[in-house]
């Protein structure tokens, strides 16, 4: 008989593991990925592949030659960063920019802080915002979705519904008038609108979100409070003045709202730990998103809102604690 092991209790361990969680997220991203492949054809496939491969490559290189620590490329987190980064760019983005974005996402967004679990900001969003600021033209040229084809050239570009709305209202036109220029809600729901690769189809993202909820990868707190606060915020303004403010549903299904609420904000590493904290975080994201969308210079505010709230996470963790057992003494 070999030596007995002595260790502290417990002596049984659950089957949860980091890579299981990460691959669960990847599985949940498949519907949205398929939709993007359908609407943006080869361009989307190439961009996603480039992002995933370069994210993994950068993580490998940094871990192996810079940190000289253990290499954890296959735990799935770099793959998720890659996919989410690709989901956040227009399909016409040149591949070399994608590689730069991946390098920033992994190198600056994640590895600088010590790798998985230590980054304060969502790496994919760091990459995306870097690209948006460095290459504003390329990052805001949105090819119109088409039926699947293998051709790469001759894409028609046009603004996103959010941009149309913003410009329309800024030009002093009525909101309902502008609505006529953008696709119908049903069209937008399943993704037939201009936008980043992965954010277009609210339905596909919702399916993925439900899968993650069912597998307990995420909890309901952040998505519900995020979406809820967006609905309430935009709803109030819409009720006050429907001429310049659009109804809440429009805000929910356009832009990166769903992708942000279900995948970006719920990122375990960069979201608060306690349930109450998550709700505060979600509300903060929702309010900031709407403030940027309605009153800011950019038509879209999800990325900035989440990054700003990411910075507040340590503060939330310090001040908002879970309910302790026996904290409030009930009268017997």
């Amino acid at each position: 008989m070999s030596l007995l092991t002595v260790s502290g209790s417990p002596h049984v361990y659950s089957k949860e593991s980091v890579s299981k969680i990460m691959y669960g997220v990847i599985i949940s991203l498949i519907p949205a990925m398929l939709i993007s492949f359908y609407f943006f054809s080869l361009a989307a496939i190439l961009l996603t592949l480039t992002a995933v491969v370069s994210c993994m490559a950068f993580e490998f290189l940094i871990q192996k030659y810079l940190i000289k620590g253990p290499v954890t490329v296959f735990d799935g987190s770099a793959i998720i960063t890659g996919i989410l980064l690709a989901f956040n760019v227009p399909s016409s983005l040149p591949l070399w920019m994608m590689v730069i974005g991946s390098a920033v996402a992994i190198g600056m967004g994640k590895m600088t802080f010590g790798g998985l679990g230590k980054n304060p900001f969502n790496p994919a969003l760091v990459g995306r915002v870097f690209l948006l600021i460095s290459f504003p033209v390329e990052m805001t040229t949105w090819p119109k979705p088409t039926e699947f084809s293998t051709q790469l050239t001759d894409v028609v570009t046009g603004p996103t519904p959010l941009a149309v709305m913003k410009e329309g209202i800024a030009a002093g036109r009525d909101a309902s008038e502008v609505m006529a220029e953008i696709p119908s809600y049903v069209q937008m729901l399943y993704g037939n609108m201009g936008g980043s690769i992965g954010e277009i189809s609210a339905i596909a993202l919702l399916i993925g979100g439900i899968y993650m909820l069912a597998r307990k990868i995420i909890t309901w707190h952040i998505p519900v409070s995020y979406i809820g606060s967006v609905v309430i915020f935009s709803g109030i303004l819409w009720l006050i003045n429907p001429e310049i403010y659009v109804d809440p549903l429009f805000h929910l299904i356009t832009g990166g709202m769903m992708l942000g609420a279900l995948y970006m904000a719920t990122d375990m590493v960069t979201s608060p730990m306690s349930a109450k904290g998550m709700i505060v975080f979600g509300i903060g994201c929702g309010v900031l998103t709407m403030v940027i969308r309605l009153f800011g210079a950019y038509p879209e505010g999800v990325s900035f809102a989440i990054l700003i709230m990411n910075a507040f996470v340590p503060l939330i963790n310090t001040y908002i604690k879970p309910k302790r057992f026996g904290e409030e003494v009930k009268d017997v």
Binding site: L3, L4, T5, V6, S7, G8
Partner: protein, 286 residues
Amino acid sequence: MNEITLISVISLGSLGAIAAIVLYFVAQKFKVIEDPRIDVVEEKLPGANCGGCGLAGCRALAEAIVKAESLEGFSCPPGGNEAMKDIADALGLVAEESEPMIAVLRCNGTRENSPPKVKYEGATTCQFAHSLFSGEGGCPYGCLGCGDCVLACSFDAMYMDEKTGLPVIIDDKCVACGKCVQACPRNIIQMRKKGKKSRRIFVSCINTEKGGVARKSCKVACIGCGKCVKECKFEAITLENFLAYIDYEKCKLCRKCPPVCPTGAIHELNFPPRKEKKEEKAQENA
């Protein structure tokens, strides 16, 4: 255009002025008057904040020295007598000479001497392993080998020897701050007089179990036979609870005790190799 420039200059300028006034009054109100000598003293200290002086850090020591207006009872192990002398010169005081000390590891339960009987799995901290069981080798007094002392050392003076599973103290780097002594849950590491040329003799075991029991878990345990006590001419060795202890104040480093120890628990460090012994053996062989 001029108007805009004027407005911005005036508004920003007045903002700045108001802030400056507020800051001035706040700074006046919360001014802390401090003895400038504290900074002088702190500068002379090594700045490692090791806590070897028994205070919270170099700043705390500096404050205490200035407050006491004397160097009596204060010492800085890493800075040594030199630092204290510097401070004495700066403050016009007299420095106390203190004997340099060094940490010694009173356990030799290497994987060979005390072979593992069970395997430990869990957090690599001796504190927890100590609360869990007697140790892989079975000695409830022995080194657990999780390296809390190495982590505690701020001077890189310790490392874990992968082969033996014991920490090693690097003589040249050890400043006797005592961090490792506090870190060890079993009090295996102790402070000793550094001695001339860093030579020292000590019992490398703290097991107070009966000889037979101690021997069962470790080949080189002190079994409390008392041979060394008889051998010592200076009454430096005492025996208590089946464990010998060499008083470093009385020990004259005569090297008589190590050879008589039947288990080899008495260690001598940094001595030249024994010549006579080999000759004797050679003679015996011949």
